[in-house]
């Protein structure tokens, strides 16, 4: 039971982070492509903006690993 709850917790941590990242990246990506058509030289900066939300899923991943590593 406890292991199951831990697995659900870990899944939620990474899953919700991934969903949030996806929503943010979808919006940034769409706007970024629009900007790129006008100014192709912005590729580097747009790439940075695009990967910024990935921190959310990485932090979720860290939490998931920590949850699953708690000694039982």
């Amino acid at each position: 039971m406890e292991l199951g709850l831990m697995a659900i917790g870990a899944g939620l941590a990474i899953g919700l982070g991934a969903i949030a990242t996806a929503i943010a990246q979808a919006k940034i990506g769409a706007a970024g492509i629009g900007a790129l058509i006008e100014k192709p030289e912005l590729l580097g900066r747009i790439l940075i903006l695009l990967v910024i939300p990935e921190t959310l899923v990485i932090l979720g991943f860290v939490i998931a690993v920590i949850i699953l590593s708690v000694p039982r």
Binding site: L43, G44, R45, L47, I48, V51, I52, E54, T55, I58, L59, F61, V62, V65, I66, S69
Partner: protein, 628 residues
């Protein structure tokens, strides 16, 4: 490393301007600056205007360059690989170059226009294809008579039924008409109607009122009897593709024979035009000109000697110390040793650093391959990437960007193999099966590797902050320097507090560092106002962001293990091997993309943010080789 630049100004009599410009152009080291506003507003200083004959020449050169560009654009798509520039006319004068451009452009344009015209005709006739195929047999059945007229119509069966048309024709001609019909498709029907000539106007009116579309021939065949025009269309439809193909071959021959020549002449004309453009943008008094610009310090003495020898005291070249306001306008030249140079592509990908700050290329050359290798860490994948990078460098040795990416990939793949040995990974878990024993087993040390990643993050960010402090001091930005110094102390207290809580340092030290961390935030609030708490939080997130090194590393290992497991699932050995290769190939692609993007992100977002001043102006010397 950013090359040291000097600012120079050149003053001389206006009559020598063309000669001076040619001399500067030949040297090709001076980045000419737009004349500053403060000089433009000085009394007696005005923009130099070119004499009328030079203005006319400039307009003529602009026209010829436009012509050359258009012709080059027409010819370029005909090559799979562009031919080398033809040096035959290297020493040709502008007039000769102009003549050659005009001659080639005229020939190319004639053929191109002909191809376009015929192509247009072909597409026009193609529109008649269906109707023609349907009506031709009907037309052939029509008896030839000087008293009869023919017309073709298309009927939409639903909108204008045939019975209605026939009733109207019957009424108008009292039955003296013939109608032949055939279906084009399920909805449209084509008809040919023969009638005595005197009914012509009445029948045309009938078509208009009944919304029946009469078959209209192309404009050039409009006056022709329908039978003949059908014949002409059929003949042309058959002949046009051959004519177009012959013309295309002629254009290709022209391209192969004269493309290199055209490009060379285009360069000659552009060089002259550029010289005139720059001259027309200069300022001076009634009789003198004035220009200023930036030159790499190492090229200054040769350039000065050159001007001195050529013009003696008639032209004065002086060195001007740059002001503080000018420092962000100084053009930047990245000048790294050969083995670091390929990594400049990663710096440029973001932006050039401002002059007087740090070129992060050497740091990228160290950390990029290390982080990349740490994430991918596999002997097999590293070997594949090494081969791919060597191929890239061999195949594209003349394309600077691709060659440099190949070099970056070579360094990264070598480090990947080194970490592969440490992690004992060869195509994932296959290493264990063939007896490679890991020094660190990634699948069983996730938490220690997570801590290691965060520690690497802390050190990397601290290094960035330290560099940031030094640069801010160099730029005499005291507040910025203090802010970065306190941020550095905040990261230090963060880590020492964490070390105390994990028992590496005495527990009571932890509270001291938590308190000192809080104190630092207060100082930061004083320095940065309300944004400071968010900046402190951002620092923590920045450090934790390095957890991706472990995260993506573990993902790469698990994906490789899954590929191996898939390979063992089918009963057939061959199918298993094919499946294994397929999944490992996918993993290699992900293996290049993910570590490269993540490593770049860690540098651009987390690391550069601490010391990098983007927005440097690219050094564009006025002269030969400037654009090419």
């Amino acid at each position: 490393m950013i090359l040291k630049m000097s600012k120079v100004s050149i003053i001389g009599p206006q009559r020598l301007l063309p000669e001076v410009m040619a001399c500067i152009y030949e040297a090709g080291v001076l980045h000419i600056e737009t004349t500053p506003e403060r000089i433009k507003d000085t009394p007696y200083i005005k923009r130099l205007s070119l004499p009328p004959e030079q203005k006319n020449e400039m307009m003529e050169l602009e026209r010829v360059t436009g012509l050359a560009k258009k012709t080059i654009d027409t010819l370029t798509p005909l090559f799979v690989k562009l031919p080398p520039v033809d040096d035959r006319h290297k020493e040709a004068g502008v007039h000769e170059a102009k003549r050659i451009i005009e001659e080639i452009s005229r020939s190319v344009d004639n053929v191109d226009q002909e191809i376009r015209g015929l192509g247009h005709q072909l597409s026009l006739y193609a529109r008649y294809e269906k109707i023609l195929d349907t009506l031709s047999p009907l037309i052939a059945m029509m008896p030839e008579s000087p008293f009869k007229d023919y017309t073709g119509v298309t009927l939409y069966k639903r909108e204008a039924p045939l019975t209605v048309l026939e009733e109207s024709l019957q009424r108008m001609t009292e039955g003296r008409y013939e109608l032949f019909k055939r279906d084009i498709d399920s909805e449209i029907m084509a008809c040919v109607i023969a009638y005595p000539k005197e009914f012509g106007p009445g029948i045309k009116k009938l078509f208009q009122e009944g919304n029946i579309s009469e078959l209209r021939m192309p404009a050039d065949l409009a006056d022709m009897p329908i039978r003949e025009s059908f014949k002409v269309i059929s003949e042309k439809r058959a002949a046009l593709p051959f004519q177009i193909s012959a013309l295309e071959k002629r254009l290709q021959r022209l391209a192969f024979e004269r493309y290199g020549e055209l490009v060379q002449c285009h360069r000659i004309v552009e060089e002259r035009l550029r010289q005139m453009e720059v001259s027309s943008d200069l300022y001076g008094t009634k009789d003198t000109f004035f220009l200023s610009g930036w030159i790499p310090e190492e090229a200054l003495s040769k350039f000065t000697k050159n001007i001195k020898n050529r013009f003696q005291d008639r032209v004065i070249l002086g060195r001007i110390p740059p002001t503080d306001q000018e420092r962000d306008r100084i053009p930047v030249v990245l000048n790294n040793p050969g083995f670091l140079r390929p990594f400049e592509v990663l710096t440029r990908f973001l932006s050039l650093p401002k002059y007087g700050t740090l070129d992060p290329t050497p740091l990228l050359a160290i950390f990029f391959p290390v982080f990349f290798g740490l994430i991918l860490g596999d002997i097999g994948y590293g070997a594949i990437l090494l081969l791919a990078s060597l191929w890239l460098r061999w195949r594209w040795k003349n394309r600077e960007l691709l060659y440099n990416i190949g070099c970056v990939l070579t360094a990264s793949s070598l480090v990947t193999m080194i970490f592969g040995v440490i992690f004992g990974e060869f195509f994932g878990t296959l290493g264990e099966s063939i007896g490679i024993s890991p020094y660190i087993n990634r699948s069983q040390t996730l938490i220690p590797l997570l801590i290691l990643s965060v520690v690497i993050g802390g050190l990397h960010i601290s290094l960035g902050l330290l560099i940031g402090v030094i640069i801010a001091m160099k730029r005499r930005e005291a507040r910025e320097a203090f802010t970065k110094l306190f941020k550095l102390l905040f990261v230090f207290s963060l880590f020492t507090a964490a070390a105390s809580f994990y028992g590496i340092l005495p527990a009571e030290w932890g509270y001291v560092f938590v308190l000192s961390g809080s104190g630092i935030i207060l100082v930061l609030i004083f320095l940065e106002k309300w944004i400071a708490p968010f900046d402190a939080l951002k620092l923590i997130v920045n450090v934790l962001s390095y957890a991706r090194i472990m995260g993506f590393g573990a993902a790469s290992l698990f994906l490789a293990s899954i590929a191996n497991r898939m390979a063992t699932m089918p009963e057939s050995v061959i199918l298993g091997i094919l499946l294994g290769i397929f999944f490992h190939l996918i993993n290699v692609i992900i293996g290049v993309y993910a570590p490269a993007i993540q490593t770049l992100r860690l540098h651009y977002v987390e690391f550069f943010d601490k010391f990098f001043y983007p927005g440097g102006i690219e050094y564009k010397p006025f002269g030969k080789g400037e654009r090419w």
